[in-house]
């Protein structure tokens, strides 16, 4: 089957570009796949199915949404909350009316009024202040012939938004852990947090919790890797908490090799998030591949990780307390870290195995491309046979047939 594949690709700096770079070679063992050039508006001639990677970043996905509008296809929905994407392809292109319309389509007159408030700068941007309340995913859902998602969270939200097409849950593939020497960072233990340093990664809470842990574990160090988001005053926060350079190790954006070396050096990985857009964390997946214990937020995809690989911390009032408790436990119990690390490796080698994921994703594409025709054939033949013996639509017998068909995913 021929697939036209719309995705950001390296050297674009995007987690989804990394994801596609990992997956495309494995997918090509199952399907004939053409990665279209950035900016392509239509699928190449002869494609059986177009596959669109949709995420929340308008720079990476705006052109892909444009193409999806021209030729519906399968959507790999990386984030359920797409407000930032929609704002980018409307307001970001000087089309404020488009934003008003999008908000009205999904949230009625109230949505339109709120959008006016944003355009008039009377309200803070909703994609920053309340994105989860206004996900703006419906246009993408309406265009999708089928969805591939990485989490039950996104699947459930798509269904709750009224999506009736096929939704296939295919976990994020794990990278094979590279043969890389751990960076010489120090720390006993070394706790790592990777990704942008900002509020939604819960860095303030992490710093507070770490300060408490360090009061008891003087050798502990916290490694923060990633760019600091504009407006986030890391230095001031560190000063306030009395965290100096002996406790905090800071690196900005790093290349892939350095990233793996730093990740390999960590004893504990922290991957926190709130609000969540429904995304899967590429760095958390890398931590699994390295066999590292995780501490995560108990939300979205993160909440779906098996208990054995991650300690989960609720968002809210007790977040710092719970986070400190989790870090303390892992700091003083190398045996627990080791057991969690083994479970993480097993998870990466099992359900997140690249070969298996590629097979499942190819299966999803094939079902999305031809599944409706198969379902039609089955339903036609079954209903014809039923009608032939006098079973009328809507009868108890017809309902039972429909129920049985549904049980084995044959429609009905």
């Amino acid at each position: 089957m021929r697939i036209a594949y719309f995705s950001p690709m390296p050297p674009e700096s995007s987690g989804i570009a990394d994801y596609s770079a990992l997956l495309v070679p494995a997918l090509r063992r199952h399907v004939e796949l053409t990665v279209v050039r950035r900016g392509t508006k239509r699928p190449p001639r002869g494609a059986d199915l177009s596959v669109y990677h949709i995420g929340n970043n308008p720079d990476a996905h705006g052109w892909i949404l444009d193409a999806l509008r021209r030729a519906p296809g399968a959507v790999i929905l990386h984030d359920f909350v797409l407000h930032h994407l929609v704002a980018g392809v409307t307001i970001g292109r000087g089309n404020g009316h488009g934003y008003l319309d999008a908000m009205e389509r999904e949230h009625g007159v109230v949505g339109r009024l709120l959008a006016h408030g944003v355009l008039d700068k009377r309200l803070p941007p909703l994609w920053e202040a309340r994105p989860e309340d206004f996900p703006l995913a419906r246009e993408v859902l309406a265009l999708a012939k089928g969805l591939v998602v990485h989490s039950r969270y996104v699947a459930d939200h798509a269904r709750a938004a009224g999506y009736e097409g096929p939704v296939v849950h295919v976990p994020h593939p794990a990278w094979p852990a590279p043969d890389v020497a751990p960076a010489d960072v120090g720390g006993d233990p070394l706790i790592g947090s990777f990704g942008n340093v900002n509020l939604s990664k819960r860095v303030p809470q992490l710093l507070e919790a770490f300060a408490r842990v360090r009061a008891e574990h003087r050798g502990a160090r916290l490694l923060l890797v990633g760019a600091t988001s504009p407006g986030f005053d890391l230095e001031r926060r560190l000063q306030r908490l009395g965290l100096g350079t002996d406790g905090i190790v800071r690196e900005g954006y790093v290349d892939e090799r350095r990233l793996w070396a730093l990740m390999a050096a960590c004893d504990i990985h922290v991957s926190l998030r709130s609000p969540t857009m429904g995304e899967t964390s590429g760095t958390a997946i890398r931590a699994l591949a390295l066999g590292k214990p995780l501490v995560v937020s108990n939300t979205g995809w993160f909440a779906e990780l098996p208990k054995g690989v991650a300690l989960k911390v609720g968002i809210g009032e007790h977040e710092v307390d719970d986070l400190a408790t989790a870090l303390r436990l892992l700091a003083r119990r190398p045996d627990v870290r080791a057991a969690m690390g083994e479970a993480a490796s097993a998870l990466a080698r099992g359900p997140h195995d690249l070969g298996k994921i590629a097979e499942r994703q190819a299966a999803a594409f094939e079902r999305i491309a031809g599944g409706a025709a198969v379902a039609d054939s089955v339903l036609h033949e079954v209903s014809e046979a039923a009608a032939g013996v006098g079973i009328a639509a809507g009868s108890a017998e017809a309902s039972e047939i429909a129920r049985r068909l549904s049980e084995v995913d044959l429609g009905g």
Partner: protein
């Protein structure tokens, strides 16, 4: 216990699964169970017919029969395990192989059109759902269990079943290699015939029948093997047991076979088995130079193995004896005890 053994039936065809399920019912009855066979015709083409025919099983109500509960069903091969039952045990003979390892080969069924691709995937999904419902899941061989794990992530316990009942005995070798497989291309009897053309000293007896018979007879004629190859067609149980008892070795080398009763029948007769490295299920019990010879799937290698076993009677008897000890462990008592536990 009241038990229904489930068997899809291709009308007018009879093979290993039919023998196996008939014997399973008889053995269950012999142990005091109220067992019966439930059979539904199966046709797997054209197009989506394979799904609608599989779906027939889903509509069966086997919770009870004639007012009395059926406590357990034992499904065997696709699509019998699509049935619903609170105590669904599956003793898997094979899945619908065209949707798996045979896809893209000359034995495959599905083309490259999106509808064909989707149909294949739908069958895989049906397997995941239906087999996932099993209260216990067994596979007749490691090969079947391995395919299942690779395709669905479901784990099956390997539970081989005894071969068909014959008056097995061990006799002196009369210098021929026996092939008792159905005459079908996938059984690769041509490798044995071509091997016989390359190596002298042994004869070949081919029993059974099938669509490949004419071609195989043509090969025998073309290679000038008329005096050394004998096609006996279908034979009685007594005759088959006699042939097993008096052969020098048994050839059994299908491509990626599910289970294969051939080696067990050979071993019950104290005879070594020649098989190939890609034979699948038979490799569970045919171990190179322990219970037979496992060779590359070439005529030269098969011919050389047959000639060696013919020329080394004592070693052949030793291999056959080891095979017999192994086959004697596979009994209905043990199989049924595990199946019903």
């Amino acid at each position: 216990m009241r038990i229904a053994v489930l068997r899809p039936q291709v009308p007018f065809a009879r093979g290993g699964v039919e023998i196996f399920t008939d014997e399973l019912v008889a053995e269950l009855r012999a142990r005091g169970h109220d067992a019966d066979l439930v059979s539904v015709p199966f046709k797997w083409y054209p197009g989506a017919r394979v799904l609608t025919q599989a779906f027939l099983w889903r509509m069966l109500d086997l919770d009870e029969a004639d007012g009395r509960p059926i406590e357990m069903v034992i499904a065997t091969k696709f699509p019998s395990y699509v049935v619903r039952h609170r105590e669904k045990r599956v003793w898997l003979v094979h899945q619908f192989r065209q949707a798996y390892e045979l896809d893209g080969t000359e034995l495959g069924q599905f083309g490259e059109a999106p509808e064909d691709r989707a149909l294949r995937r739908q069958l895989q999904e049906l397997d995941r759902i239906a087999l996932g419902e099993a209260t216990r899941l067994f596979a007749t061989s490691q090969n079947v269990a391995g395919r299942l794990a690779r395709s669905t992530d479901l784990v099956a316990e390997v539970l081989p079943h005894p071969p068909q009942q014959l008056p097995y005995r061990t006799g002196a070798s009369e210098g021929f290699v026996l092939s008792a497989s159905r005459l079908d291309r996938a059984k690769r009897i041509d490798l044995l015939l071509e091997g016989a053309a390359l190596h002298t000293g042994f004869d070949v007896v081919v029993v059974s029948d099938g669509p490949d018979r004419e071609r195989l007879e043509g090969i025998a004629r073309a290679r000038g093997l008329d005096g050394r190859i004998r096609f006996e067609g279908r034979v009685t149980a007594d005759r088959l047991a006699e042939l097993y008892a008096t052969c020098s070795s048994v050839y059994y080398a299908p491509v990626d076979e599910d289970f294969g009763m051939g080696p067990y029948e050979a071993f019950r007769s104290g005879k070594p088995v020649i098989t190939t490295t890609d034979a699948g299920g038979p490799l569970d019990v045919v171990h190179d130079r322990r219970t037979g010879l496992v060779v590359e799937p070439t005529a030269a290698a098969v011919g050389a193995a047959a000639a060696w076993l013919h020329a080394h009677e004592a070693e052949a008897a030793e291999l056959g004896g080891a095979g017999k000890a192994l086959a004697d462990e596979v009994t209905w008592d043990r199989a049924i005890a595990r199946l019903l536990a």
